[in-house]
Symmetry: C2
Subunit: 421 residues, 2 copies
């Protein structure tokens, strides 16, 4: 049926194809496959006891319970918004321009990313992203009829010289008015688990300011993985470099660090964006589930959160070590692949030494399925899939046990050896 | 700042002004006012004990707890979707074309309404609504740059002769391709607590089919208040009349009948809309909070839901009776106002006998605030505020106690008597 005959909106067409749908179908149809593709979190360490304690405490008193069961406000529970700012101030070392009015709670940070896109993007607009970057965000941009453009990265995250060159090019092409935001996953990003270098963070804010010629150019800082740090020190956020509070949006979540099922995320916004974003959120859901917000607030109040994050760091570090050890054994020492050794996050980014197409229709993917393992082809993380590097992949150690991670890498290595021949 | 200088999207402009924002500000700034305006639910009857039992049961077993704390799927928990269909089949007497695949869970039914608008509407498109209708839905339509057009109603809901005439007019104007949906709150609607008459329900589906000339014309049946019935028998849904399952979307929620804070709603969709709507939902949040879904499912499994609905019916019926009795005493018997005597819902719709402007800038509103009471001006429930009747209002008995409801009506009557002079 043509678009007009279907009666669907243009957006429906823009949203239509999800590149990794085939992976989910494959995983569902073949549950025996070891999925190093799924971006889910570790099942065994989900905080059943902490949640039980917090729920019991929250619901013990009738009045507090009923308050949690009533509607909340569109911007979210004031107590949790304060707790979020306190934690952020502690992590960033003070919080000059921050006040709780700037915090908006969402069910996961994904809705915050969607609301930002709704608030900022018209069809034809441009968002600059890392190459490679989080494909779900690129899907959101596409859903609005806008365009995500990749900026070159290295092992320190987005290259500021490449960003500046891209902004100059857009200005020269008369398209600067179309560039609405720069999106970075600033800590242990998806897909490479790379963090934006400390010395680039202030520079990023500077560039956003300098190119705010026709309208404010925003930086969307996605800090979803900030707490999943297994080595080294925490860095100040990009937000902390935005002294006047006019350019950076900080999106955070309790999904990775506590529970994706409770699903509480948030954004910290420049004041200029609050009214427009909340007007759209008012239409969308006039506020995220209040009970989930009160539950997370209670987890924090009872000091159940930090011990859980400590536990998670330990669990994931062991899995990451298992994956890197297996990669060394089966691929690295044989000279078949190169990969980053990240200090946090849930992913390892692998580049094959030989030029083998890792895509769905390439040589390797069916061999990997035959051997019993799934990965995400690297090209899906690039704005322009056509010109993306062909021979890389994202491996996740979030879901599988150490043993399954190791078995999965062994299977992958056999598939790669068969593809190389 | 002009739109282009602000850098915001067109949608931000469309979403900008919420007609009842001033009411919320007024209520916040003057907490001593008796608000008969707020559409919230009764606080004292919120199900703290049922939620406590369900949460304890859900979290008692580590494995079930962890499953609830993990990500769910984009369409939602399969168990709850089955439970919803079972209940609907029981209420509607069998469910021919229904299967659980057609159910999509959302945080409240409001997100379902938003997703439907995203899926169906381009700027310039048209949705036909009751006059008067739920202003939040009209706001969603406006947010998409589309237009809500009112269809005349009587005490049996939307008039089918008026709907047919409107569809003919649109066809004659060459605009039928623009008409994407007909929106009805089929049970105890907002703002009048009027239900669509049984004999109009099949006719509504027939008209939607007959005018599906250029593309499918959908009926969005909002059944948010179905369970808040205090007298009379339940009617079959409009959905039950859609034998081939291609035209009606049924939106339901546990917010009014259980807890708006847990916030679980759903839609039952024609299969043709599932993929496009789920693609957009995948970008928005890839699935609503799983824990809330499991919690509501547990409430149903433990048979805690129906007793709570029974309790609510009793509570609200008493409040409704108190409001009608006070209206009779202070306004009806004095010949100052006419009002409907509904069999369910949370609202009473009042029309003043004299032509007094009830709007924010009219004569009555400041007098009501002086006397200490808030109401929602009736004109806000009409698509075209300019041509809307001036002298009606929506009164809600959801939030206030019986005593406060009575006091509020006495205050309102004094304001009206002062305005009449």
């Amino acid at each position: 049926m043509s678009k007009s005959k279907s009666g669907l909106s243009q957006r429906s067409g823009w949203a239509a194809d999800q590149p990794i749908g085939f992976l989910m179908h494959k995983a569902l149809a073949h549950p025996e496959l070891v999925s190093l593709a799924a971006g889910f979190v570790d099942q065994a360490s989900l905080p059943s006891e902490a949640t039980r304690s917090a729920a019991a405490s929250l619901l013990a008193d009738g009045e507090r319970a009923r308050a949690a069961l009533q509607y909340g406000t569109t911007n979210g529970d004031p107590m949790l918004r304060r707790q979020i700012l306190e934690r952020l101030a502690a992590a960033d070392g003070g919080s000059g321009a921050l006040d709780e009015e700037r915090v908006v709670l969402t069910p996961g940070s994904n809705q915050m990313l969607y609301l930002l896109a709704e608030t900022l993007l018209d069809p034809g607009d441009i968002v600059l992203c890392d190459a490679p970057s989080y494909f779900v965000f690129m899907g959101i941009v596409k859903n609005m009829g806008a365009q995500a453009r990749g900026v070159a990265t290295d092992e320190q995250g987005m290259r500021m010289d490449a960003l500046e060159a891209e902004l100059e090019d857009r200005a020269a092409a008369g398209e600067l008015g179309r560039v609405k935001a720069i999106y970075v996953v600033s800590y242990f990003d998806n897909p490479r688990s790379v963090s934006l270098a400390a010395e680039r963070r202030g520079r990023l804010v500077e560039l956003a300011k300098r190119y705010s010629r026709e309208h404010p150019l925003y930086v969307i800082e996605d800090a979803a993985y900030r707490e999943l740090r297994y080595a080294g020190d925490d860095e100040k956020s990009v937000l902390a470099h935005d002294i006047d509070g006019q350019h950076v949006i900080y999106a955070g979540t309790f999904s990775k660090s506590f529970s994706p099922g409770v699903r509480v995320g948030y954004g910290i916004l420049p004041k200029s964006l609050l009214d427009p974003l909340l007007a759209i959120k008012g239409n969308l859901d006039f506020g995220s589930p209040h009970f989930s917000q009160r539950l997370i607030s209670e987890v924090l109040r009872l000091s159940l959160y930090d011990p859980h994050v400590e536990l998670l760091r330990d669990v994931y570090q062991r899995k990451q070590t298992a994956m890197l050890r297996a990669l060394d054994l089966h691929l690295g020492q044989k000279g078949l692949a190169r990969y980053l050794r990240p200090h946090g996050g849930l992913y390892v980014w692998v580049e094959l030494v030989q030029d083998i197409d890792t895509g769905q229709h390439g040589k390797l993917f069916p061999l990997a399925v035959e051997e019993g393992v799934l990965y995400v082809p690297g090209a899906y993380f690039f704005c322009d899939v056509q010109s993306a590097p062909r021979s890389c992949m994202r491996l996740s150690f979030g879901v599988q046990s150490e043993e399954r991670v190791e078995a999965g890498i062994a299977k992958l290595a056999r598939a790669i050896e068969r593809a190389v021949v």
